[in-house]
Every structure is written in structure tokens, then in C-alpha cells.
Amino acid sequence: MQKTQRSVRDLRIGEKGTIAGLLDPEMSLKLLEMGCIPGTEVKLNSKAPLGDPITIIVNDYTLSLRLDEAENIMLK
């Protein structure tokens, strides 16, 4: 448990992870509504040409978000 926890920001394209929890309380409400519920699987789908924003696949649809938003989604 010593190793720092990874977030969606740290995923590589095509890599999957499972949501452990969300950090920023206000933003997490928005993320929850969009289906980023703890226990759900996410996949990093693509990155914008300049590296930010990114798209992820969650609940069978594509969601776009900025990197500083993605780092609030912690992975197991």
C-alpha cells in the first residue's frame, strides 16, 4: 500500500482500470452523474493532439474530460 495511488490521468491509451474513488467533492458529483461510480471499469480511449483533454470509455459510452479532471478519478 506504500505505492502512490494511480488516477485515470496515469492510464496509457487502451489501458483499463477500475474506479476506486473520487477526490474533489464538488467535481465528483458531476463525475458520478456521468457514470464514474466506484467499482466501474474505465478505459483510456484517446488523447487530444496536445495531450489534453482525453476521452475515456465508461459504461459503454465515450466521455471527454480534461487531465486535471481525470486526476480526481482514483483507480484500484
Binding site: E33, I57, S64
Partner: protein, 717 residues
């Protein structure tokens, strides 16, 4: 606990042939096909108004559910939940949580995207808990099928406790069934979803009885969102605030728990009714396209190609209908003037009809720009543009969606400001609207060309770099830099009313619906003509009066004096007439104004003649050339070389040429920055729904123009 039943609920009569119009609100996630459904239901019977106090468009329309039964349809902003995150979404709770609101709906039609049911049903379960009669429009069943998603509608209907109508709003399948159902159905959903935690029941019941609400869930939302509900009084808000304190109400944690609980319920429920055999096929197609369309190199190249097309359209294609409108207005005026005479006829032709022409002239550009924007939105390409540009634009306080308004500003700020409507975030939208008019629009080109021709020699460097062209490009660049840096300044100054998120669905590529494109164009043109148009015609009339009348008998005196001068100089009749016009303009109210502001603009190198031109430019910047021609009595031949000759011949008091490079550049810089366009001001008023923004823009841009021109003139004179 017994239900408190008012007299309203006494007789639930289900009668499709009602005299009073029923009111139906459409609600659903963004991209769930809500607008398509609205267009299918109402066709051309739609109206755009305002929700009170906010800058959100209120789209309403009339639909014939049955031949006898008309219903009013309200299109609510797209939202993912009843906890609004943007100002647009706030309109929804203001409307649904206040039974006394003028637009409180009898029925909700909730659109859900069948290919993405889980997330779409979150909103439904919240609405069901509010207990408003509802019908679920299960939209895009075709997309779901190609996704390999099979939905057992009967099972879903039973599990959700609401009538479910499978439909396809894009091609109209299922709309007839929906209409029939809505004309009869008046029941609230038969089941609720969220269990209010025991420790909150006391708090919730107190609020419920205090405000006489019909259910607990609504009362819970009062506790969560009392600050956002504009219909509550200060005393009401204090009452809720105190209760929250007393019970240690933790809004964020409760909302999070509620959303998680709902998702869990929905997931379980969908196990019965939805079977997924083969997923992501459409996503795969979109992903393949995206590898090209959002590619590091190709992505931007293609985007610039698209922009290039848009420019061609607004610049080149629009000129044909614009010339036609111009010619039409001119011949209408000529016809009226040949048949009738008198000051009222002049007011009608040169004031009102000319002003009307000034409104109509924008229609081709607005229509073309919105045709492009609607297609880009409909296909899903706009989301990619936003995606590619967001990182760059965010540095300047803008947003990926600001790209299109800013770049369209090079053609004309009027449609460009209207295009900023697509930006959801309030602060980003205001900044975009505020800086867009700094982009050099096409109306500045005539001014630029005349003045550049006057003082910049036609020299070539390296055989092909034309000096005049370089200066012209410099002026465009200057406008662009001013826009970008003003945005940066506003990013710091302006306080955000809400957080800016980029968390949104990334839509799959789709074919555009031409009906939606057509209706968007009609809607935008109507909004401009009827709302901004009023202001433009009014200002146009005022400007006309100022230029056509003078104090006392100044006009007659001016004519007599001009005739005397003409006689001594032996001028031809045409030359005499243009001399009369010049003298009359000088003695008009506009001339008086020009003289009055001369002390203020003298440090910029301008005299009263330019003062008049600055005033009349307000009608449209290109009027500068016409005014200059009149005042320097250029005569009828208004081409660049004759104007140039006249201007070069103009002498100052000491007998030296008046238009020195310092003066001309000062004037050029003034036109780059100054807000001299009543149409833009009118459209900013219409888009921000207040005079605050256009007035700030007027002062900021004019101030910027004044200071810059001052520096240029003082440095170079």
C-alpha cells in the same frame, strides 16, 4: 403519514378533448435527441423567448396531439441530473419546483438515448421521484440495435413504472404513438426509486409542510438547492438554512450517496430488460475516423480546411444574396422617391427602409454560418474541434468552443456573437462575446483599403511581398492579438459564476438531420431580425435625422453659400450638387457633433470631418467611405482612386497635406479597435439579455482605440 390532498386532486378526469391547452415539457440528457423531438412535434410552430432573468433561450411551440387537442411544448435545456451544474440547467429546477410558475408542465416527456440507457435513466429516476406525470421517449432505438443492445420494452415499462414509447426522433418513427399517449396520459410514475435516509425524514417533512409541497423528494431538493431557487424569498431561504444547520445537512455527501444508490438500482433493473450481445461497433467506426480527424497533423489541417470553407461561404458566397438585397432596397427606395416627395418620404426611405436594409443584409451571412455550425454540431465534429483546441484556448480564458465564434468574427461579428451561444460555461461565453468584435471584420476592409492606399506605397519585396498586403495583414494580426489579450485580462477580472468543466459525452459521428439544420437557420435569422433588428432600425433612423437636419435654417444657409462658391469657381452642376451636400453635412446635427468632439479627437490627429465619419460609421463601418466621399465632395464616382486623389489634395491650416502617414495610421488603428457597429451592440444585447455588456464593450473598445491612436499619432507626427 396521510397525504395532504387539496381540492385539485378531487376528480382525475382523463379527457383528450380539452378546452385548455395542456403544457408538455421536454427534458433529457444532452444528445438524447430532445431537439429533434421538439422539431418533430412543433415543426415551424416554434418561438424563442427568454426565461426570466437568465440568458437562456426558452423554446416553446404548439403541437397538435390530436386534431382537437393542441398542446404547448417547452424545450428545456439538456441536463444529466436535477442537480444543475450550469446556469442553463438552473432554469429547469426553477420551473419544475414551483407549482405556481407560469410554465409548470402538466406532463413531462423524458427523452433517453436507448444506446446509453444507464446514464440516461439517472435523470428519469429523479423525475419519477418528483411525482410529475411523465412519458419516457426511448430514443435512438436504431443506434442501440446496431450497437447490439436489445431492449425488452414491456419489461422496462413495468420496472420503471412509466409508459415507454420506443421512437426515433430523427426520422419520426414513434412520434404518432407518443402524441396519442401524451394526449391521454395524466398519471405520475407508479414507482419511486430513492429512499430518503431515516435521519433526514424529519428535516424533509418540516420543509415539505412549511412550503406545502406534494412530496418528500421535492422537499429534499429544496434543502439541497434553496440558494438556486429564484422564487424563494429571503425569509424562506433563511428558514431552510437554519434547518440545515440544525440537522447538520451535508449536501455534497448526500448527493454523492444518492447518485451512487440510483446507479446501483438502475444497473440491477436493466439486467432484466436489456441484453447486450455485441458492443462498441459504432464506437469503433467513430474511433477510426477520429484517428484521422483528431490526428496531430491531419486533424488540424482538416479543421483549417473546414474553416476555409466556412470563410469562403461567408465572404464569397454570401455576397451574391447580399448584393441582391442591397440592390432591392436601393430600387425600392428609388421607386418610392420617384412617386412621392416630402420629408416623411425621406424619413421612410433613407431612415427606416435603409435601416431595414442594414438588418436584412446580414441574413445571408447568418444563415450560411449557422448552416455550417449546425452541420458540424449534428455530425459530432464540433465536439472534436472543441477537443483539439481546448488546451490552447484555455490559456487565454477561453474554451475550445470559442474557436468558431472568434474566427467567424473575421467575416462579421454579428453571426459570430450569436455562435457563442454554443458555449455552456457562462464566463467563457461572456469573454468570447466580449472579445469577438475585436477581430477585424469584413466591414473594416473598405476603410483599411482606402487608408492604406493613401499612405502606404505599392512596393514589392522579394518580387512578391506587397507592402500594402503586409500592412493589411498586420492590422488583422493586431485585432487578433487585442482579442486574445483582452480575453486573458478578463479571465483574471471576471468572477466565475460556476465551475468550468469539460466532463461531457463525446458523441459518435452521425449523419446530420437536415430538418434540424434548416430549423436552426430559421431560428437564428428570426432571432436576429426581430430582436437585434429593432435596435438597428432605431439607431439608423436617429443617425439619418442627425445627418439630414441641422439647427434652425442652417441647411438653407449652407446651400446658398455653396451655390455662391460654385458660381465664383465656375463649377458644373454635378460639382455644385456635391459641394452643396458637403456644406449641408457640415451644418447638420452630425456636423455640429463633429465640431463638438473635435477638441477631444484632435490629439489623435482627427478634425471635425473625420469626427462626422466616426459618428456615421456607427451605422456600419464601411459607411466611413461614403461619408468621407460626401464631406470631401468626391461626387458620384466613389472609387478608391478618386477618393485617394481628393484626400491627398486635402490641406491642413498651414497648407501642408492633411493626410500624413501619422494621421492615416492613427485612423487605421482607431478602426481596428473601436466598437463602431450598432448591429454588434444590438446582437450582444440580445445574446446577453442586458445592456451592461454592450455598454462595457463600447467603452472598453473605444477607450482602447482612443489610447492606441493617441500613442500612434503622437509618436509619428
Amino acid at each position: 403519514m396521510t397525504e395532504v390532498i387539496g381540492s385539485v386532486a378531487a376528480a382525475p378526469v382523463i379527457n383528450p378533448v380539452k378546452n385548455n391547452i395542456s403544457r408538455i415539457a421536454l427534458i433529457g440528457n444532452p444528445n438524447s435527441g430532445k431537439s429533434s423531438l421538439f422539431n418533430q412535434l412543433t415543426g415551424l410552430n416554434q418561438k424563442v423567448g427568454n426565461f426570466p432573468g437568465v440568458t437562456v433561450d426558452k423554446k416553446t411551440g404548439i403541437s397538435h396531439l390530436t386534431p382537437q387537442h393542441k398542446a404547448q411544448i417547452i424545450d428545456l435545456p439538456g441536463t444529466y441530473s436535477l442537480y444543475p451544474k450550469s446556469l442553463d440547467e438552473k432554469v429547469i429546477i426553477d420551473l419544475l419546483y414551483n407549482k405556481k410558475s407560469a410554465l409548470y408542465p402538466d406532463i413531462l416527456v423524458i427523452t433517453v438515448d436507448a444506446s446509453n440507457l444507464k446514464r440516461n435513466l439517472l435523470l428519469y429516476t429523479q423525475l419519477a421521484d418528483l411525482g410529475i406525470p411523465a412519458v419516457l421517449g426511448l430514443n435512438m432505438t436504431d443506434v442501440a440495435e446496431t450497437h447490439g443492445v436489445k431492449i425488452d420494452v414491456a419489461q422496462l415499462q413495468q420496472d420503471l413504472g412509466v409508459p415507454v414509447v420506443p421512437m426515433n426522433a430523427r426520422n419520426g418513427v414513434g412520434i404518432a404513438a407518443l402524441k396519442i399517449l401524451v394526449s391521454q396520459q395524466l398519471e405520475k410514475p407508479t414507482r419511486t426509486f430513492y429512499q430518503i435516509p431515516d435521519e433526514l425524514v424529519v428535516l424533509v417533512r418540516q420543509i415539505r409542510y412549511y412550503f406545502e409541497l406534494k412530496n418528500d423528494y421535492l422537499a429534499l431538493h429544496y434543502a439541497h438547492q434553496y440558494k438556486k431557487l429564484s422564487f424563494l424569498s429571503e425569509a424562506d431561504k433563511n428558514y431552510i438554512e437554519d434547518l440545515r444547520q440544525q440537522y447538520g445537512f451535508n449536501s455534497n455527501a448526500l448527493q454523492a450517496a444518492e447518485t451512487i444508490q440510483r446507479y446501483t438500482l438502475i444497473s440491477d433493473l436493466l439486467l432484466d430488460s436489456v441484453k447486450v450481445s455485441r458492443a462498441e461497433s459504432n464506437e469503433k467506426f467513430s474511433n477510426k475516423l477520429d484517428q484521422v480527424l483528431t490526428h496531430k497533423v491531419w486533424g488540424y489541417l482538416i479543421f483549417f480546411g473546414v474553416l476555409f470553407m466556412m470563410f469562403q461561404a461567408i465572404f464569397a458566397w454570401a455576397t451574391y444574396p447580399m448584393d441582391l438585397i442591397d440592390a432591392g432596397i436601393a430600387s425600392l427606395n428609388a421607386f418610392i422617391q420617384s412617386k412621392f416627395d416630402g420629408p416623411l418620404v425621406d424619413l421612410l426611405t433613407e431612415g427606416v427602409i435603409a435601416g431595414l436594409g442594414g438588418v436584412l443584409i446580414f441574413i445571408p451571412q447568418i444563415a450560411l454560418l449557422f448552416a455550417f455550425i449546425a452541420i458540424l454540431e449534428e455530425t459530432g465534429y464540433m465536439a472534436r474541434v472543441t477537443f483539439m483546441m481546448d488546451k490552447i484556448m484555455r490559456k487565454f480564458g477561453l474554451n475550445g468552443k470559442s474557436v468558431v465564434p472568434l474566427i467567424s468574427g473575421v467575416a462579421c461579428a454579428v453571426p459570430a456573437v450569436m455562435a457563442a451561444r454554443n458555449i455552456d460555461n457562462w464566463k467563457d461565453r461572456m469573454i468570447t462575446i466580449f472579445v469577438t468584435p475585436l477581430m477585424s471584420c469584413s466591414a473594416r476592409i473598405p476603410v483599411y483599403t482606402v487608408l492604406i492606399a493613401l499612405v502606404v506605397p505599392e512596393k514589392y519585396y522579394l518580387g512578391f511581398l506587397n507592402l500594402q498586403g503586409i500592412v493589411l495583414m498586420g492590422l488583422y494580426l493586431l485585432g487578433f492579438l487585442a482579442a486574445i489579450f483582452s480575453a486573458l485580462a478578463m479571465k483574471v477580472i471576471l468572477k466565475a459564476k460556476e465551475r468550468s468543466y469539460f466532463i461531457m459525452e463525446f458523441p459518435v459521428y452521425k449523419m446530420p438531420r437536415w430538418k434540424n439544420v434548416g430549423l436552426t437557420i430559421i431560428e437564428k435569422v428570426k432571432a436576429f431580425v426581430f430582436e437585434a433588428g429593432k435596435v438597428i432600425v432605431a439607431i439608423s433612423v436617429i443617425l439619418w435625422v442627425m445627418a439630414s437636419y441641422g439647427p434652425g435654417n442652417a441647411f438653407e444657409a449652407a446651400e446658398t453659400q455653396a451655390r455662391q462658391e460654385a458660381a465664383t469657381q465656375n463649377l458644373s452642376e454635378a460639382e455644385t450638387n456635391s459641394l452643396i451636400s458637403a456644406h449641408q453635412l457640415e451644418s447638420s446635427y452630425a456636423g455640429v457633433f463633429g465640431h463638438a468632439i473635435e477638441p477631444a479627437i484632435r490629439p489623435l490627429g482627427f478634425d471635425w470631418k473625420i469626427g462626422i465619419a466616426l459618428l456615421t460609421s456607427f451605422a456600419a463601418r464601411e459607411v466611413f467611405v461614403g461619408t468621407i466621399s460626401t464631406i470631401y465632395s468626391v461626387g458620384d464616382e466613389e472609387n478608391i482612386s478618386t477618393i485617394k486623389e481628393k484626400l491627398l489634395a486635402e490641406k491642413d491650416d498651414a497648407g501642408n497635406p492633411f493626410f500624413t502617414p501619422a494621421r492615416a495610421f492613427s485612423l487605421l488603428i482607431f478602426y481596428v479597435f473601436a466598437m463602431q457597429c450598432m448591429s454588434t451592440l444590438a446582437v450582444v444585447y440580445r445574446e446577453t439579455k442586458s445592456w451592461r455588456w454592450p455598454i462595457m464593450q463600447l467603452f472598453y473598445m473605444s477607450g482602447l482605440a482612443y489610447v492606441s491612436s493617441y500613442i500612434v499619432y503622437q509618436l509619428f507626427k
